[in-house]
């Protein structure tokens, strides 16, 4: 099992894990990020404080530190011990990405005309309804480009878990490089192209959404 092309199934398997990580982490980050953004623009000062603290704390912490906490420090405290590695990776990358999503959405919320929220309040919507039906849908539309950048960065960031027990694309690449130092260039190309394809998929999706929502903004 030496050549990277002869063992392409291993490459695909590794990228499949990268895709799973990206999808799951992306889901966690989007849900949590949206919640944080809503808390930050909301009327309850305690929640505003909690969200602001979380965003400040996590956004200023390197992903590696987050991973060391989830994969190394937490198990020593008896946390996450029986948890599957994929889930731990999802927690680390998802929690880390959430504040960036929150900030992207918050910038989108700020881009939504104040009159929109006012009109929603005027027909008797509660803060939650206002967010859910009026402000956030428009904020998401305005946030598509920064959200896409954040998700692209996140997809590449999944590579950090290569040194925390997950045999995803980067770990597999290291494995190949270690075994065939002659093929280093080819191995690099194969894995770089793999990542490029993933990132381009996100870009295409963002482009499609932007076009679809053009009329409704």
């Amino acid at each position: 099992m030496e050549n990277v092309l002869a063992n392409f199934d291993l490459v695909l398997k590794a990228f499949w894990l990268t895709i799973q990580l990206a999808l799951l982490s992306g889901l966690v980050a989007l849900v949590l990020g949206t919640l944080l953004a809503a808390m930050r623009v909301g009327p309850i000062s305690v929640l505003r404080g909690v969200a602001a603290t979380y965003v400040t704390l996590v956004r200023n912490t390197p992903l590696l530190v987050m991973c060391i906490f989830v994969f190394v420090a937490a198990p020593n405290l008896g946390l996450f011990v029986g948890m599957p590695f994929l889930l731990k990776g999802t927690i680390a990358v998802g929690l880390y990405t959430a504040p960036f999503i929150a900030e992207a959405i918050r910038s989108g919320v700020n881009a939504v005309h104040l009159g929109q929220a006012e009109a929603a309040r005027a027909i008797g919507m509660t803060f939650g309804q206002n967010m859910r039906y009026v402000v956030l849908p428009q904020a998401f539309r305005a946030s598509v480009p920064p959200l896409a950048s954040t998700l692209i960065a996140m997809t590449k960031n999944t590579s950090v878990v290569a040194v925390f027990g997950l045999m995803e694309a980067t770990a597999r690449m290291r494995d190949f490089v270690n075994k065939n130092s002659d093929d280093t260039m080819l191995i690099f190309l194969v894995f770089a192209i793999g990542y490029v394809i993933l990132v381009e998929l996100i870009s295409f999706a963002a482009y499609g959404l932007e076009r679809r929502w053009k009329a409704a903004r």
Partner: protein, 261 residues
Amino acid sequence: MTVTDEAPVGGGTPRSGEALVELADVQKWYGQLHVLQDINLTVSRGEVVVVIGPSGSGKSTLCRTINRLEPVDSGRILVDGSPLPQEGKALARHRADVGMVFQSFNLFAHKTILENVTLGPIKVRKQSKAEAETRARELLERVGVAHQADKYPAQLSGGQQQRVAIARALAMEPKVMLFDEPTSALDPEMIKEVLDVMVDLAERGMTMIVVTHEMGFARTAANRVVFMADGRILETADPETFFSNPESDRAKDFLGKILKH
């Protein structure tokens, strides 16, 4: 900012149960600026009150206090006998009963015209989708934009958008309608189509508080004209009296400038 319900009820005591909107001793500051001073105003059921005055007189702010889009610092505001609630679900319920039309239309940009009108009834009034749509189509028919139902707001003219905004407010079956300079952002040729809808509404007996510069509308549709300047109500009179024989110098000055145009 707080509304003190204990504030003394001033001269605007309701006239034997027919008062629908009542403001008593309302005060509001923006920092040092006293934007609403000793406001006492009672609007009866079915009455159409037009608020006029120079810009910066506080007339828009007054309009917006009635559904608490602007909180006041002191005084009492009652709608249909009950005081304005603080923020929260009760305030949302209150607002559902008070229709509002904005200067800049504020249609929900990501919703179609039909969805703009049905969103409130479905989510706030908990009507079924079919019920809300039937009613919405009736209202859009009434304001003359039924054929635009599936378009997005950005695809409509300003006049059409404002008529949709009126339909959106009406869909909530409000007790009173607030109009905050509804024609100020419109091109002249579109003003009439909006005013026609408002006159029609007035004739159907809707209680309306209208902040506007349209003196023609005030003459034809208003029961009363309220003149404001510097955050105070300076004059209240029927349109005929007000326009032919204003009492205060500020009002004379204001009318002089407006009517010369």
